[in-house]
Amino acid sequence: MSVFPYLIVIELLLVGLYGIATSRNTIHLVSCLFVAQSSTYLLLLSIGYLQGGTAPITDEIPGHARMVDPVVQALTLTDIVVGAAVSALLLAFALQRHKLTGTLDPRKEPPQRG
């Protein structure tokens, strides 16, 4: 049980990578990238978790209560924001590629010229 969350992290990462490697559609590929990235959220939160710990907000909780690590939670927040922004940018790329080549399949697109 003590490694179960980490196993889910590895599974999510590999499932996401499998999707990226086998994807036939750029939008599907971006979704798979998001799945792979969500494994990092789980990893960060699992590392900071303390058995029986509460949220790191000191309002009206007894002084001896143990709290989970706020640093990894702040990092997860960063992770989510960056993930959303990068996904939007990738989807904009996919849209313009579709306009130019008429396909969303990353394998069918002709080689890029610089």
Partner: protein, 253 residues
């Protein structure tokens, strides 16, 4: 190469990668047995030193405030890139959006949809503002509240028409707000420099813990981030909707 054989290199690589990840689990402390030192240090010092009771906001905007500046500019750059990519291209024309069904004169949202939109818009707006302003007291902050605020405006589109949403972004107000939000964070940080302090040093009085006006510059930073995130998500949705509804391939004469 056929489809299945193409995947073979991936499966080999994934097997090796997965095995090494499993091997790495040995060195991790068991789940729930947290042994870090930074977290407890922050939890002990944030109340006496910073008068903050929400540790995540304290880390984001105070202990790691400079990193959040970088994070904010990743968002800013990504949105700028999106807007740059989603402009009308030379080969395209912009048209007024047209109704795809021909048997009706104008779009009439169902009364239930309209009613729900009118009901949800002010509540979501209020909740978003609350979450931004109370970021240093309760769970939330500029990033989370900003997304909620942008959602409030999505209700306008969902229960009304595209034009209702477009009207808000037509005169660049939202763009200015986004730039203003990003610049606000930089400027609040810079204000400490002439006084001889380091960047993002907390100049304002810290106030009483738990009060709305406490924690120095932290609520101000929350507001700038909230403004930027709200405008960024609004700009994104408008840019993507423009692609679908307004921009058309130019027809050859």
């Amino acid at each position: 190469m056929s489809g299945k054989r193409r995947h073979l290199p991936f499966f080999l690589g994934a097997l090796l990668f997965g095995a090494s990840l499993l091997r790495a689990l040995d060195a991790l402390p068991p789940f729930g047995d947290y042994r870090g030192t930074y977290g407890p240090a922050i939890l002990v010092t944030m109340e006496p030193l910073r008068h903050v009771q929400q540790a995540v906001a304290s880390v984001t905007f105070d202990y790691r405030g400079f990193d959040t500046l970088g994070e904010e500019f990743i968002l800013f750059a990504a949105v700028a890139g999106c807007l740059l990519l989603l402009r009308r291209q030379e080969s395209e024309v912009a048209q007024e959006p047209v109704d795809q069904t021909s048997d009706r004169q104008w779009i009439q949202p169902a009364p239930a949809v309209l009613g729900l939109g009118v009901l949800m818009f002010p509540f979501t707006l209020l909740l978003g503002i609350y979450i931004v302003l109370h970021g240093h007291l309760t769970p939330g902050g500029g990033f989370q509240g900003g997304v909620l605020l942008a959602t409030a405006f999505y209700y306008v589109y969902l229960s009304g028409e595209y034009d209702d949403l477009l009207g808000m972004s037509r005169d660049h107000t939202v763009s200015h707000l986004e730039a203003g939000g990003a610049a606000g964070y930089v400027i609040i940080g810079l204000l400490a420099l002439p006084a001889g302090y380091r960047y993002l040093h907390n100049l304002l009085p810290l106030g009483d813990k738990g009060e709305l006006l406490s924690a120095g510059t932290l609520p101000l930073l929350n507001i700038t981030v909230g403004t930027e995130v709200t405008s960024a998500f609004l700009l994104l949705i408008v840019a993507f909707l423009r692609q679908v509804l307004v921009i058309r391939k130019e027809k050859k004469p």
